[in-house]
Symmetry: C2
Subunit: 602 residues, 2 copies
């Protein structure tokens, strides 16, 4: 029986063997989460995802959303799925139970997201906004805002949105022009036009809670003058019941390459002068609030990408095992074989496997840091965990989505001509995953974040924390004879990474700042490669340990597969990474030196 | 004014400065094609493409094809475009005028294809089959077949198809089962089911000429028992008029990721026992005939991919010049700038430019070899030209389509969120170009072709011919002080390529044959990189020459852009290529060693 969406064995390995998650149950906060409970929660997510939600995925892609007179209709099959998510309390599982969450560890949350996002990304990305909007209200909202909105968001009774982007300002939120005028009762009248609002309108819930970035009249220019507001689709009476409709209306939806089941809305705020919003947090602190939420949002996009990649891998693997075609090289004319026997297909499949596994470990690692940060009282540890999260987020969003896109692309290739047809699920996965390299900050922005804000921050403290963590794995692997050589190769790559950092450091300070940024994306890529190699070697150290204890055949096969993933990455990918590092060190200036007219095209 | 589809200046540079095409007019065969005529033909293709055909491209994508009762309808807007192609004699421009061609050089044909495929890939790929089917009939057909079909194909009055693939055999044509039974009158009754037949049915033309691979009863098993037949949709009377409908019927069309305007048909042959076909060439030589046509077909797919890439580049470049967003790194809060000023965007744009240019040169180079092969009487030269074509075709199809896919992907990224919407043309280009890595032999098959059939063929004669050609450019560049360093870097990479070849050579002979094939795709990639570097350095040598003659500003900008493309590839990409070579030399066995169960997923 083929597995769907995610390889359960691998998820269990990450949760129990790599991160020993049930250890968290020694702390009071997570005392309920022993191994049995953890497994039960993964089971629930998996069953819900595969049985109830996955069947709606292709339907949603084909039906899409429709727009008429300010109202958006999502695929009707999504309603039952939404209800199941509500019933299972899947809208904010890691949040506080008092507000409708389940209080599960973030690490476990990422594992369950793998199944849920993988079942229907269109629906779950809209649903995921409930958690994001709720978290902001939980953290920065007034008691009144919490009372009226929070439980409805975390429970999935209502839904949430992020109303940020405008046509002109795009990624540069500091330039937005939507205005907010204070009313006598302390509320604000919002006015402006927004675009690319996921779930800006739909028919899944009776109300939608919009979080809106706007500029209060007279506020400072640029990013320091932006405030955050909550403006619900329907205003809420004091008793919590719905009042009249607010003046925030969907004016159209985008036709997109993928994610057809998720409405991407243009929104008009205050076209009748009556879009009522209340301030969240302090005036002019809107962007700071968004920044504080950004790590979680970006990790979630990484999770979305992983879900597409892990689904694509399993479909391609199953296809490769069953599709009979051609013969082994050098034996043409002989009996036809399953294409998994072809060396080129094996290379592609192992590449897909390796990235899927490495990404899964990385995302759970970051979530695990969040859990450990919550539990520790030690301030230095808290800082270190946060440092590691901060430096890894651009990798978890930028590098991860790029690799997930590659993996989905490879799946289409393995299916051959069939992969290009809608008869098989891989082309939808490729179209759907394509957005993840763009939204929540394009991957170019992630690269600039890593180089400009993280790498040299506090005298490279974040970077040093990262290297120290990698060293723990390296030392363990070096002490394992079967892995010693791999560990040495990774260690050499780390030395080379140090040279790259030392090349960029002075350049960023002087007139080469532009050129340095031309290498931001390559730098993100080599950092990501190193992190992948680390995660895979970490997995291999555990697997090698288990292998030496002579496990049963099925276990042995799994652990042997872990060794092969690490071996492949370190043997076949790291040499390319070294080449990428050499390219950065060359520091060729062509991209900056070329004149605008020399690009041609006129 | 932005250029559309292809940069005319660059096309002119390739035709006149890199390949000095008008020199061909010294030969009688091409005596008409002086510079003025060449430019006029490019003008015509460009005008037709941009004014008449391009407007149908997005319409075709949105409308798609429809199927009802065995009949396929293509987007109605395509009819006028087809008529314009017919009127302009664009169905087989490089073929003999006596059969309806224009007899233009292949080099020029590739240049005009850049515009035509770029205007509407769905329509032009169907139209392109006219040439392919016609060429087979011209080369292998009987006088009768030529008389009835050839002019109608080359003129575009009828259309042609290639009816090869079957559901079970897929890429492995040797396994196909469609049968052919000889009738008393010398014709054959064909019987079987075919899939993925581009243009298998449509309403563009009154008749469709199907070329069908089938197995004559009693023929040898496998690839040596396959014959090629022509079976028209409507049988043809002796006077050339249409007779009754043949028993070859479309039973459905595929829903696809892209290429929506091109019907991909399932075909039933002989379901009423009456699919009449006539043999082309000799019995059991069907696959040999197809193989002989394969180079041209694969070069054409490279051309299709180039068209998508060059369009995507120009759209992205124009967008980057006009989209105002963000400020220069290190100057945040200052005035917003066009995104082409951002280092990361410049890096992406230069990458796109460089591949588009390198690919354009490569495809024209191969076409130019075809032209030179036609003109020379020298047998050794003929062999050498053919060797170069043979070894470069896997690059021109496999490497080129992979890079074109990258370029289209980058275009979507430059457009940001807009790139994901159907409002802008880049997402369609990405979906359309995606098929080019699959059809006409997947890129994995191209890699196996390079490694298994080309590289070590005749004691590496093809490979040596290639290296000798590269050396010509290297020597010229080494003699140019401004390019000497670049030439040396490429030369070093060639030395490393030699090491790679020497690593694979013995491995292919012994028990490492499987492992060698696991590196087939990486080997294709490094070969392609070297070829790109060569093409770009070649361009740079010409450009440097011109620069030294102090051209006007606009010319200077163009030539300077050529130097920058070469500098960027050699400075920033070749180091990565060296890393890929190091990876091959490492020759890690993981992909072959991993057991099937260790891939997981069960």
């Amino acid at each position: 029986m083929m597995q769907l969406i995610a390889d359960r064995k691998d998820i269990d390995f990450v949760l129990h063997e790599q991160f020993e998650l049930s250890q968290l149950s020694r702390h009071e906060k997570f005392s309920d989460f022993n191994k049995t409970v953890i497994d039960m929660i993964v089971n629930e997510a998996r069953n819900l995802a595969i049985k109830e939600i996955l069947p709606t995925n292709s339907i949603g892609d084909k039906t899409g959303c429709s727009y008429e007179n300010g109202r958006v209709t999502m695929p009707s099959e999504f309603k039952a799925a939404w209800y199941q998510l509500e019933k299972g309390e899947w809208f904010a599982p890691a949040q506080a139970p008092e507000w409708g969450g389940q209080g599960i560890p973030e690490t476990l949350n990422v594992a369950t997201q793998n199944y849920l996002f993988g079942a229907n990304l269109s629906l779950l990305m809209v649903a995921g906004l409930n958690h994001a909007a709720g978290k902001i209200i939980e953290t920065f909202g007034s008691d009144r805002q919490k009372k009226y909105y929070l439980k409805n968001l975390y429970s999935g009774k209502w839904s949430g949105t992020m109303v940020l982007t405008e046509a002109e300002s795009g990624s540069n939120l500091g330039d937005l022009t939507t205005s907010a005028t204070k009313n006598e009762d302390g509320t604000y009248c919002l006015s402006g036009n927004k675009i690319f609002i996921s779930g800006g309108d739909h028919d899944m819930t009776e109300n939608i809670v919009h979080l809106v970035l706007a500029r209060i009249e007279g506020a400072p220019k640029g990013s320091r003058g932006i405030s955050l507001f909550v403006a619900p689709k329907f205003l809420v009476n004091d008793d919590g019941s719905l009042s009249e409709q607010n003046d925030i209306v969907c004016t159209g939806i985008e036709e997109k390459m993928g994610l057809h089941g998720s409405p991407t809305c243009s929104m008009a705020l205050g076209s009748r002068g009556k879009c009522i919003g209340t301030l969240i947090g302090k005036e002019n602190k809107g962007l700071s609030i968004m920044f504080l939420m950004m790590n979680k949002a970006r990790l979630m996009v990484g999770s979305q990408a992983l879900s597409c990649a892990s689904s694509a891998y399993l479909y391609a693997l199953d296809y490769a095992r069953n599709r009979i075609q051609g013969s082994v090289p050098g034996e043409s004319g002989k009996k036809s074989i399953a294409i998994i026997q072809h060396p080129d297909i094996r290379r592609i499949l192992l590449t897909m496997k390796m990235y899927t596994e490495g990404i899964r470990s990385l995302l759970c690692y970051i979530a695990n840091l969040e859990d450990k940060k919550k539990l520790t009282e030690n301030v230095a540890d808290k800082v270190r965990y946060q440092n590691l999260i901060d430096i890894l987020i651009p990798v978890a969003k930028g590098y991860v989505t790029d690799r997930a896109l590659d993996v989905c692309n490879m799946a289409v290739q393995i299916f051959g001509g069939y992969g290009y047809t809608t008869e098989f699920p891989v082309e939808q996965l490729l179209r759907d995953v394509r957005i993840t390299t763009i939204y929540e900050g394009t991957n170019g922005i992630q690269a600039m974040d890593l180089l400009g804000r993280k790498l040299f921050h506090r005298k490279k403290e974040l970077y040093k924390n990262l290297i120290d963590e990698i060293d723990i794995t390296l030392n363990r692997a070096k002490a394992t004879p079967a892995l010693e050589q791999m560990a040495q190769t990774l260690d050499n790559a780390l030395t080379k990474l140090e040279q790259v950092v030392n090349k960029i450091d002075p350049a960023l300070q002087d007139q080469d700042v532009l050129l340095s940024y031309a290498f931001a994306s390559p730098f993100l890529e080599v950092t990501g490669d190193i992190v992948m190699a680390w995660m895979l070697l970490w997995r291999a150290t555990i697997a090698q340990d288990r292998i030496e204890n002579k496990p049963r055949k099925k276990e042995l096969d799994f652990y042997a597969g872990q060794i092969k993933s690490a071996q492949f990455f370190i043997g076949s990918i790291l040499p390319v990474t070294l080449g990428k590092m050499a390219s950065i060190i060359t520091f060729d200036g062509a991209a900056i030196e070329i004149s605008d007219t020399s690009f041609g095209g006129k």
